[in-house]
């Protein structure tokens, strides 16, 4: 908080911290953060409710967000979301949601699984991903965005043909 010129600036980082500790922005956690920041809990609640990534209701400890925006939709984002929802059936510690553009249209259709990006995914891979995630294993290692080369380099490596 001391790093910011104004202590109010810390509200989003504070809510992130609450969510990290409790799994979601609990009233108790918000009260604690508000006390430290010297603002009212209602103020922090109003901030929390504005942002899609801050949950004001309990959610599962693992989170999957499937992009259903334009580029992913064209490539089967809706089907991928359905597959994740089906795979998550009966597994309460898993929170699956559709999401607006996650900024990874190059790997469409894609999903953010516990804050990391994976794609392009087939609906059939949803169950594998969920099983790996809940078993605490590495998820779909070969589909991780972090490991992808630049598009132009991948094309050169594949002789320009990697549709």
């Amino acid at each position: 908080m001391g790093r910011y010129p104004d202590r109010h600036s810390v509200s989003i980082p504070a809510l992130w911290a609450v969510q990290k500790l409790y799994g979601w922005c609990t009233p108790e956690g918000i009260r604690q953060a508000a006390a430290v920041m010297r603002v009212t809990p209602a103020y922090l609640e109003s901030v929390a409710s504005f942002y899609d990534l801050l949950h004001t209701e309990p959610v599962g400890s693992h989170k999957v967000a499937v992009c259903t925006n334009i580029s992913c939709w064209m490539r089967g984002g809706d089907e991928l979301l359905d597959a994740f929802r089906a795979a998550a059936e009966g597994r309460e510690d898993l929170f699956v949601t559709g999401f607006e553009c996650l900024g990874a249209c190059d790997i469409a259709p894609m999903a953010s699984i516990d804050e990391r990006y994976f794609g392009p995914l087939e609906p059939g891979e949803a169950r594998t991903a969920v099983d790996q995630l809940l078993a605490g294993e590495d998820v779909l290692a070969e589909k991780a965005l972090a490991k992808r080369p630049l598009a132009g380099d991948a094309a050169a490596a594949n002789g320009g043909d990697d549709a």
């Binding site: 010129p5 109003s46 942002y51 990534l53 967000a65 334009i70 064209m74 190059d106 598009a151 320009g160």
Partner: protein, 440 residues
């Protein structure tokens, strides 16, 4: 035509992420020169002369924007807008993930020009991996003395904080970003006053996109003339273009501005998938009016040429719709996004996005009449130019372009489902005849 990699030069080297790797490729030499030998005016002049245009969407001259900041003893701020959330755009993600130090160096140099002591990178919360990478890079830069107090003995301080957002497209709007950074809900402010005069914490603030700031080190190192050697007269430089949708090789490609659009879509991105044809494309993210291949494929990919064709280069993100895509459905997806992301502060946007979604849902369900298309268009006309920020316009522009250019398809969708639904609807309305009679 191959790529022209300037910002993405050496990006294939994973070590570029580290300070040592970045320095091996010549990194931070410009920062050292700037802090040891250069005055704010020199840097500002170089940036202005280079003609570098903002890469976030508006395309405004970066140097000019920086020159708007008042001088003198007053706390000034620099914000890097890394809240890339526009559907179709994913270039900043690539730049931050592969070359975080280039951005940090750009921020530190731009901070001299803006005379800003506090700098922030406001990064969207979804980009967790990239924020982690930036955090690590910023820590390294502090360690090396490129950030912090009295940088390289220059008596200049720059505190840089990586600030994570929490999921709201609107925070990419510069004044909403400021509100979010001040710890509020991300609502846009009325302009003027512009952030250059009154921005973060009420102080003069320079806000620039990731790609814009990433250009700064090389412009200061090689000079404005070198930079103008790339691109066109009005759109100098290179641009990282995100190409996605119905193409064989979606991805980020760095090219000189002004290359033929066809080269991007067919050459670098490999053209449409097997057996498909391009039906339309967004030339600059989901808020740009769509172009048909006849209108846009042979245009030079530059700010001026795309604007002349009635659209915009925006953030430089091409989304290709092939002939399997239903335009009314694509219009609905687009509108739904803006409806979801509207902050609700001003009426034309909040209500306009809501009604546009409702009407487009009627269209795709086959419950609309051709007259509804005129109403959709008129709603868009009433949104444009009437909102606090450009979010409303960002929906109105592509939706009205789609209705205008693909009206036949909209009418066909309506007609195909029309007759049965019409009778069903009449039956539903007339259903309980007594009630209807009683009401009148």
């Amino acid at each position: 035509m191959p790529e022209t990699r300037v910002l993405l030069e050496h990006a294939e080297d994973p070590a570029l992420r580290t300070l040592a790797g970045y320095k091996r490729h010549g990194g931070y030499a410009t920062l050292e020169k700037a802090y040891r030998q250069m005055e704010a005016e020199e840097i500002l002049k170089e940036l202005e002369d280079s003609g570098l245009r903002g890469r976030g969407g508006a395309g405004f001259s970066m140097g000019k924007k920086a020159s708007f900041l008042p001088r003198g003893e007053i706390d000034k701020y620099l914000c890097c807008n890394a809240d890339e959330s526009e559907p179709g755009a994913f270039k900043d993600r690539e730049l931050m993930q592969r070359n975080p130090h280039q951005l940090i160096e750009g921020i530190a140099i731009a901070a001299i020009a803006a005379d800003a002591g506090h700098a922030f990178i406001f990064i969207r919360g979804e980009y967790d991996l990239q924020a982690d990478i930036l955090d690590a890079a910023v820590a390294e830069a502090y360690e090396a003395g490129y950030l912090g107090e009295n940088i390289l003995g220059s008596h200049r301080d720059v505190e840089l904080i990586v600030h994570r957002g929490a999921g709201a497209y609107i925070c990419g709007e510069e004044t909403a970003l400021l509100d979010a950074l001040e710890g509020k809900r991300g609502n846009p402010r009325l302009k003027p006053p512009f952030p250059a005069v009154q921005g973060l914490y009420g102080g003069p603030t320079l806000i620039n996109n990731v790609e814009t700031l990433s250009n700064v080190p090389r412009i200061v190192a090689h000079g404005a003339e070198w930079f103008k050697g790339f691109g066109t007269e009005q759109s100098p430089g290179t641009k990282v273009v995100s190409v996605s949708g119905g193409v064989r090789r979606p991805g980020n490609y760095e090219v000189e501005l002004g290359i033929p659009t066809r080269e991007l879509i067919y050459g670098l991105a490999g053209g449409p998938l097997e057996g498909r044809e391009v039906k339309a494309f967004y030339p600059g993210g989901s808020s740009s009016p769509v172009l048909t291949p006849e209108e846009g494929m042979d245009l030079p990919y530059s700010f001026e040429a795309i604007a002349e064709a009635g659209s915009m280069l925006g953030s430089g993100s091409i989304i290709v719709a092939d002939d399997s895509v239903s335009i009314p459905h694509m219009a609905l997806r687009t509108a739904r996004f803006y409806h979801h992301e509207s902050c609700g502060k001003c009426t034309p946007c909040r209500e306009g996005t809501n009604w546009t979604v409702k009407m487009l849902e009627r269209v795709v369900r086959g419950e609309a009449t051709p007259m509804d298309l005129d109403i959709i268009s008129s709603v868009q006309d009433n949104i444009m130019g009437n909102c606090l920020c450009v979010l409303g316009d960002s929906m109105a522009m592509p939706v009205s372009a789609m209705v205008r250019k693909f009206r036949d398809e909209f009418e066909q969708v309506i007609a195909e489902a029309g007759p049965e639904l019409d009778s069903a609807r009449i039956a539903a309305v007339q259903g309980p005849a007594e009630t209807l009679g009683a009401a009148t």
